[in-house]
Subunit: 283 residues, 2 copies
């Protein structure tokens, strides 16, 4: 059996397109249905309750589009709300970006000291520590919220002095703690890779979850015999939805995708939170 | 006639509390009903359509609470969506922060060259230029979006080197253009006042709209004979609503208010966008 349905991917905004890029690079026959909640991003500073509510609405929207797998490309949602999404996903596999990143870190660290950078909510949830300790209790994990990295990347200043000063501010402590491995626990951070690497020195390996998440998705689809039967999938056959056509969204999308977004459709928040779903998700 | 109903004030988040502070300082007998849309802030990078929709929902929520005046404490909404709110406000006065700030700048500039800094949406709408030209066509206005200032203030780094480097990046051009007056066109920016002043030199006067907006509110209430008959109003008799109780909201609120928030109630987005209002506001 093979399955030509799309892989559903969502993120609070456009950073999750880094995961789409890796998915389509590894599996050029697949197509993706992507949702970016650009009307309400960023999620990283909001309460767990708000994050879970928005995540549920995002997931419900994609589930209705007959997807064969749900990839939560947002570190914040993967950290705070993945279990709840799995409960409601019925029969399709749901994966986040935290476990693949954690696996990679456990395999890479020699000193058994790993740093994790992410949004406030990701660091507060301590999700990477839990995922790493499931594999190896002896690894010490240090978390650091880097709230300015997302706006710096969105502003196109990833290579500017403002990025360098912010990186110094956030990362010095982790370097002093002796980590040898640093997980980029937010899809925006790979765009600041150079400045981050220069700040922490080349001794410390950086781990970008996007590649490992895409690989995990491929392995699960292969195991379930759900890979696409088609040779040609990719960007042109994929569909992209956003909740707000912000003035800069095309430019930002290209930065994450590495190429232009072929199409994008606006979804109203109404459609994302229809009356019947709201009743079950609001407490 | 006098009127003991509250003054309604809303903002995309908590920055509008600077306006509340000035309102209650000038009019200690008044009470305020404040709404901060902390589940969907910041508005400044979103499309005009999204900004107008959210603003309409914020305003509708306050209108239902029997307010005698609506103060839009958000520069982005004041720039993009004020006219639409006025049309639907029936019989209560609606004021924004742009016109009071523009008046102050026209009165202050000797060189007739004014700079305006704000969010992307505020600068794109060119609202300060229009308001200034209504008063004096000969004043030249230069706009500059400073998208990183809001997250820097929210991160508590208003006095850090990262604020200095960002200020240099955004403000150098305005200084070279010979402005003698700079409007802080976002309620967050007064918290970066020192770094901004140091960057542009003391020759350039900074204008904070909060004081001038509060004064305008007082003048209009006095003219309409709607000032409160009470001697004691203030914070304790005011009510504060937010759409998300974010982990840092109390701390952030104190920074803007200059004192602790006495109370805060969470409003669900459901209540903000009830089914009947959605039908009329969504296109």
């Amino acid at each position: 059996m093979s399955d030509s349905r799309p892989i559903g991917v969502f993120d609070s905004g456009l950073g999750g397109l880094t995961v789409v890029r890796e998915l389509l690079r590894l599996m050029p026959g697949e197509r993706v249905a992507y949702l970016g909640d650009t009307a309400r991003c960023p999620y990283g500073g909001r309460s767990d309750e708000a994050i879970r509510l928005f995540a549920r609405q995002d997931a419900d929207f994609l589930m209705k589009r007959d997807i064969k797998m749900l990839v939560v490309a947002c570190n914040t949602v993967s950290s705070v709300g993945l279990d709840a999404l799995r409960t409601s996903a019925d029969d399709i596999p749901v994966i986040g970006v935290v476990v693949p990143g954690a696996k990679a870190a456990v395999l890479r660290t020699a000193e058994k000291k790993v740093g994790v950078i992410g949004t406030r909510a990701t660091v507060r949830a301590d999700s990477y520590t839990k995922a790493i300790h499931d594999l190896d209790q002896s690894v010490i994990v240090y978390g650091q919220a880097c709230s300015l990295f997302v706006p710096i990347v969105e502003e196109g200043l990833a290579d500017h002095d403002v990025a360098r000063v912010a990186a110094q501010h956030y990362l010095q402590r982790l370097v002093h703690l002796g980590i040898d491995c640093l997980i980029l626990g937010c899809t925006h951070y790979p765009l600041m890779m150079e400045v981050i690497q220069e700040t922490v020195s080349t001794r410390i390996q950086l781990i970008d979850s996007a590649l490992w998440t895409a690989k995990e998705a491929q392995d699960i689809l292969a195991a379930m015999n759900l890979l696409s039967p088609h040779k040609a999938g990719g960007l042109e056959t994929s569909t992209f939805f956003v909740t707000d056509l912000t003035p800069t969204f095309r430019e930002t999308a290209s930065a994450f995708l590495g190429t232009s977004l072929p199409n994008a459709e606006k979804v109203s928040l109404d459609e994302l939170a229809p009356d019947d779903s709201k009743k079950s998700t609001f407490q």
